[in-house]
């Protein structure tokens, strides 16, 4: 026993080490008793109170990190806000376009398109749109947006089409003043303004009146806004008002358009062309006399022949256009 005690005293450090290791291992194995758990809960709660009391103390490194994280979050949020703003604006624009499409579609089939490019010179303003013959777009189709009339399809290839806008020297549109139903012709004379011509000075015209497409137009659907009368000028030595229009469409900011897919009624076009031809030929007394001498049967036959001739011409023209289109597609 004495020798054992001597051994222990001699190696007391090792003995203490062994005892402490054994105690630690025992605690690790059996230390999770209910009583100890309760005691530890009280102690940890007390430490929690202290931690809360010192929570106001700043950790400089944490602050730096938090600052960086906040800066990043701020940047991301700013970007998101900007994106949201853009989305809201875009949404508003699309909603207007959708509203227009819904309002016009029951009567008129339309196809939407995005402006892909602009071609401008002194006397013309063309737009390139991202739809073409593959989307059933054909030459002559009217182009509009939610604000009003844009122009018509000047030419089309498979994936693109060129739109001739109202700002063109060849623009001639049968139009009417919405308030008074007075008809006139819209033309362009340079700049960004249009003019409504052939409106008699006897007609009631006011600045601010809305001008829309007329029912007489073969190319454009009726009641599409063209512009608003911005100036009424009383020019001497003429029976007509000089009416300057502010276009309904703001061409520089145009992004989306609709193309009316209905083409003019061919029979109507034909009969109007017939009239035009007659007028060009001249309605002379000799001709009238000749017509008077004709029996109803003869007149009917003659008109039928003329119609057939016109129909043939129309078909020939269409065939040529088709050929041109094919050639341009191949190119």
């Amino acid at each position: 026993m004495v020798r054992f005690l001597e051994f222990i005293i001699r190696f007391k450090e090792y003995a203490v080490l062994c005892v402490l290791i054994a105690m630690s291992l025992l605690l690790m194995t059996f230390g999770n008793t209910a009583k100890l758990r309760g005691f530890r809960t009280v102690v940890i709660s007390g430490v929690g109170v202290l931690q809360e009391a010192f929570a106001w103390l700043p950790n400089p490194l944490t602050i730096v990190r938090e600052n960086a994280a906040l800066r990043e979050a701020n940047y991301n949020l700013t970007r998101e806000v900007s994106q949201t703003r853009r989305a809201v604006s875009e949404n508003e624009r699309f909603r207007l376009l959708l509203h227009f499409r819904d309002s016009v579609s029951p009567h008129y089939n339309v196809h939407s398109a995005q402006i892909a490019g602009r071609i401008m010179d002194k006397s013309r303003y063309y737009l390139t749109i991202n739809v073409g013959t593959s989307d059933s777009i054909r030459q002559g189709m009217p182009v509009m947006n939610d604000k009003g009339l844009v122009g018509f399809v000047f030419s089309a290839v498979r994936r693109y089409a060129i739109v001739q806008t109202l700002l063109d020297k060849d623009t001639r549109i049968a139009a009417k003043i919405e308030r008074t139903r007075t008809n006139g012709i819209v033309a362009w004379e340079g700049g960004t303004n249009l003019y409504l011509t052939n409106v008699s000075k006897t007609e009631d015209v006011k600045e601010g009146d809305i001008v829309t497409t007329s029912d007489y137009s073969t190319r454009y659907p009726a009641d599409i806004p063209v512009g608003r009368i911005a100036e009424k000028r009383d020019e001497p030595n003429t029976l007509f008002w000089k009416l300057r229009l502010e276009p309904a469409v703001h061409f520089p900011s145009l992004e989306y358009v609709f193309i009316g897919l209905q083409q003019p009624d061919p029979e109507r076009v034909m009969v109007e062309e017939l009239l035009e031809r007659r007028l060009k030929q001249g309605d002379t007394p000799a001709q009238r006399q000749q017509q008077r001498r004709e029996t109803p049967r003869e007149r009917e036959l003659r008109e039928m022949r003329e119609r057939e001739k016109l129909e043939k011409e129309r078909k020939e023209r269409e065939r040529r256009e088709e050929q041109q289109r094919d050639t341009s597609e191949e190119n």
Binding site: L17, L20, L25, L27, M28, V47, Q51, F54, N59
Partner: protein, 181 residues
Amino acid sequence: MASFFRTQQAFTDTEATMNNPLLRYIAYAIAALLLAVASDVLVPFIAIEGIVPDIVLIWAVWVALVEGQMIGMIAGFGGGLVLDIVSADVLGSNALAKVIAIFIAGYFYLETREQEMTGSFRFPLIILLCGFLHNIIYYFFYLRPTEINFLQFFLRYGVFTTLYTAVISLVPMLIISRVKD
């Protein structure tokens, strides 16, 4: 003048306490308790990427270098146990790691040359060695119930905790070296 005398009196009182073994051990126990609480409440404020220095280990190594291997081991065990209790760790895990680490630190104990050991750069080096050993043992038991890769975890947390503890141990070393001078 009055404050000077008060300071002198305080030094005299401290010296008296340090000469009385019982009072000294009580002071160690209180210090262990305070340091354990501080390591849970205040030390997180100097955390770097979530890594905190082990101030209880610094204190236990200091005790081992001043009092010897046996007292150091008991201090380490007590300090570790208090730390386990206040930090909701596995009871006994810190105690075991500290006992073994302090056992090694005890070999650096040189009677009558305590201040030479604690007030020089040997102190942080001993902390580095003991901290390394301590963290191997501690993380071994800490990760035992999990499937986390021990080596990866130790290299990420154990090594940095050891280095940070060694860096922080420069503070008491500098204080002790100033007192020694």
